[in-house]
Amino acid sequence: MLKKIFFILFTGLLLACSSDDPAPDPDNGNGGNGNNGGEGTTGFDRAALLANWADNIIVPAYQDFYPTTEALEVSVTAFRENPTAVNLEQVRTDWLNAYRAFQWVSMFETGPAEDLRFRARLNTYPADTATIDEFIATGTYDLELPSTIDAQGFPALDYLLFGIADTEEEIIDFYENDPTAVNTLVYMQALAVNIKTLTSLVRDLWQSSFAASFKANTDASATGSIDKLTNDFIFYYEKALRAGKIGIPAGVFSTDPLPQNVEAFYNQEVSKELALEALLAVQNFFNGTGANGGNGRGFKSYLDFLNTIKNGEDLSTLINEQFDLARLAINDLDDNFATQVQTDNIAMLEAYDELQRNVILIKVDMLQALSIDVDFVDTDGD
């Protein structure tokens, strides 16, 4: 044993001299060869984990999402040229399809999506209807501006498709007969094009270059892909899913409930569906699978590997069980969370609590097991 200790200490010294500047590691992309604790030896293959995330989950999720945005744009264009009740129904169907598919990419706010502020531009709610009305009336707006994030994306379309007038008849009547409908449809089309364009940008960047650099960055540091995406995943689960979809409408962060803050508020029927979709996407990602495949390399298998070293609690099972409990609690809710909040907010708060329990298991226990820092701050440690 002593010899081994000295051997390690000695190699450590030799390496230390070169460790200040991390050497480029050409082998890191192909699982198992680089210094990523490859499975060929004794460790967990981090490169293979990143490959599964990028190739089998993230890129396919964008590839699934993009056609739905295309279909949405097509039907909006048709509706603009010919504003009938039938065409409106088609837009609504395509809007919901795209909104559902978006729940599978929303959590990957890293790289191109982060640069484009993808999630904020596609799904900031509640929509700012006053600003939207103003943009429609004046016809001048710049959807690139950070100040316009709550006047675009799916929530803005939600308003135009379901909330522009009080009743179904009045909405159809508005688009068929109202003099301002033309401008509204122009704006609606701009929104649909905007969603499609942003999605194609993110998808293309992942396919052309980002996936490769993402997979190659197997660093254990805060700038490594695993650290960054793990933080993004947790941020999404905590802020966008737990708080955004359930907690904020339930009034957890305010003195009173805020039913108008539910996702797809004007639609009034799908806030639960979207929340369940997002929860499934999150749980699948945790287990290393996407909507259509994945080889199971993910947080679960990583935790299971680390557990073979430390014989701790079976954390991945606890987390999965908690996801299931959260799903059960959400399933009990009304299809329209706004109704739920107004009739029986206790059930909504219970769903929040179930989601919250996994924030602790993921943010505290999982991060500790993976030895990843929350929102890493670049300072010295002890």
């Binding site: 390690i8 390496l15 460790s19 050497a23 990523n36 003195t255 430390k310 701050v377 010295d380 002890d382």
Partner: protein, 454 residues
């Protein structure tokens, strides 16, 4: 105790060179550390950007001073340089101690044992005649001294010895020795190290590092003390600290410790270092020979030895204060800081605060990122004194906003050394009714496990 002062030991002398070398290296390392700190933008990030700072008990009045904070760092840096040069040394080291300690007291979020070590060491140096050789001060006729009392050099050795030995004692617990925690968590995450990455996945390596680290800390002061083992010990010092530098984000500290341990070497060794430095300075035309070195032996002012005796008594006793508190030290952290407990545990928490208007009884949860930086939130979430201080801050904030008789509750969970997280603070306690103090905090929930050992 003070009769010891007349013991023959206190009449022994030693060459001044070791003190001089130590002074120069210490000043240079401090100057580099401060420049690095400044260049990394940490002054602004850690002291200017946060709107709220966590204070040490009794030092609530020590706060960053806006842009004047830079001036404190400037004073600190210049005094470090003056210490290295031995220019107006006494004033410089006092200024250094005060400014450095002020900086550390501004926000306990950034507490590191290393910083405490620097404060303690610079305090000790105030009383040592480290400027009597190889310094600008020593250019005054008759100021330079070839020899100083031996205890002045030994006091630095003693301080270093305490740091190492106590750090070693702290590792004698069941988590460290039986579970190889927290290294079992930390080392596998270093999978990307060249060559070592795969080794870091192996359980026997975690144990080897745990035991190696504990043995190193416990025995290195003694190995450094004896001439026969000194070079071997110094090799270990270099290897150990370089390894910690490779494995952990530990800043300048490894280099400071490596340099400090040179104090254990013989006066001849230090004189040869000075000889080389002198040659370099002569080449640069920067050297002026000392006019006259006095053989008169330096005697400290009468108060110095008693002060240092009290100082070392505190150093020896203070780390043990945790035994006065009930509960598990790692869990409550009552008596954890200022005790050389270095890299000893992996602890993480989650604290969800609830603010209640005591009149309307309406409540809402707090998003900590609205008030704290990520680093502050991280440190706050598993340390009770931070939690109660933050709760008071929240209460003040919301009372200013018009809420009445604000109550603050926290639901918090903490995971320690790989154990499953468990509830940490009593969620039924209105934290506004509690205050930070040295008394035991009864509202910390009990730890559901035991950690044996010191």
């Amino acid at each position: 105790m003070f009769s010891l002062v007349n013991h023959a030991y206190f009449n022994r002398t030693i060459k001044t060179a070791p003190l001089a070398v130590f002074r120069v290296l210490f000043g240079v390392m401090m100057l580099l550390s401060l420049i690095r700190f400044w260049a990394n933008g940490w002054i602004s990030k850690l002291y200017l950007e946060p709107e709220f700072h966590f204070s040490y008990y009794g030092f609530e009045w020590v706060k960053p001073l806006g842009n004047w904070t830079y001036l404190i760092f400037l004073i600190c840096g210049l005094s470090a340089l003056a210490v290295a040069l031995g220019y107006k040394y006494r004033l410089a080291i006092v200024l250094f101690f005060l400014s450095f300690t002020y900086i550390e007291l501004m926000d306990k979020t950034t507490y590191l044992n290393h910083y405490y070590f620097v404060s303690v060491l610079s305090f000790l140096m105030i009383f040592l005649p480290a400027n009597r050789w190889f310094s600008l001060d020593a250019l005054q006729p008759g100021f330079a001294l070839r020899e100083v009392p031996r205890w002045t050099v030994d006091s630095i050795k003693l301080m270093l010895g305490i740091v190492y030995f106590y750090a070693g004692l702290a590792k004698l617990n069941s988590d460290w020795l039986i579970e190889a925690m927290p290294l079992k968590i930390w080392l596998p995450s270093k999978y990307d190290l060249p060559l070592l990455g795969d080794l870091m996945q192996q359980e026997w390596v975690h144990y080897a590092f745990s035991y190696g680290g504990a043995l190193y800390d416990l025995f290195i002061p003694f190995l450094l003390l004896f001439a026969r083992t000194r070079w071997f010990a110094f090799g270990l010092v270099v290897i150990f600290h370089v390894l910690t530098r490779v494995l952990f984000p530990i800043g300048m500290f490894p280099y400071i410790m490596i340099v400090s341990s040179l104090i254990f070497f013989s006066p001849e060794f230090h004189e040869s270092i000075l000889l080389r430095l002198r040659r370099g300075l002569i080449k640069l035309n920067l050297y002026r020979a000392v006019v006259s070195a006095s053989e008169w032996s330096w005697k400290p002012k009468t108060f110095v030895v008693p002060i240092l005796a009290v100082f070392f008594a505190i150093q020896l006793l203070f780390p043990w204060r945790y035994v006065l508190y009930p509960g598990e030290l790692f869990w409550t952290e009552e008596g954890y800081r200022f005790s050389w407990r270095v890299m000893l545990m992996e602890k993480a928490g989650y604290a969800q605060f609830k603010v209640v208007d005591g009149v309307s009884k309406k409540s809402f949860l707090i998003d900590n990122s609205d008030f704290l930086t990520p680093l502050q939130e991280k440190q706050m979430s598993f340390q009770p004194d931070f939690i109660v201080e933050y709760a008071h801050y929240l209460a003040d904030h919301y009372e200013q906003q018009g809420y009445e008789q604000v109550e603050v509750y926290v639901e918090s969970y903490v995971a320690l050394n790989g154990r499953l997280s468990q509830a940490y603070i009593d969620p039924k306690i209105n934290l506004v009714t509690q205050n930070d103090s040295f008394k035991h905090k009864t509202w910390i929930l009990p730890f559901n496990d035991t950690i044996d050992g010191l």
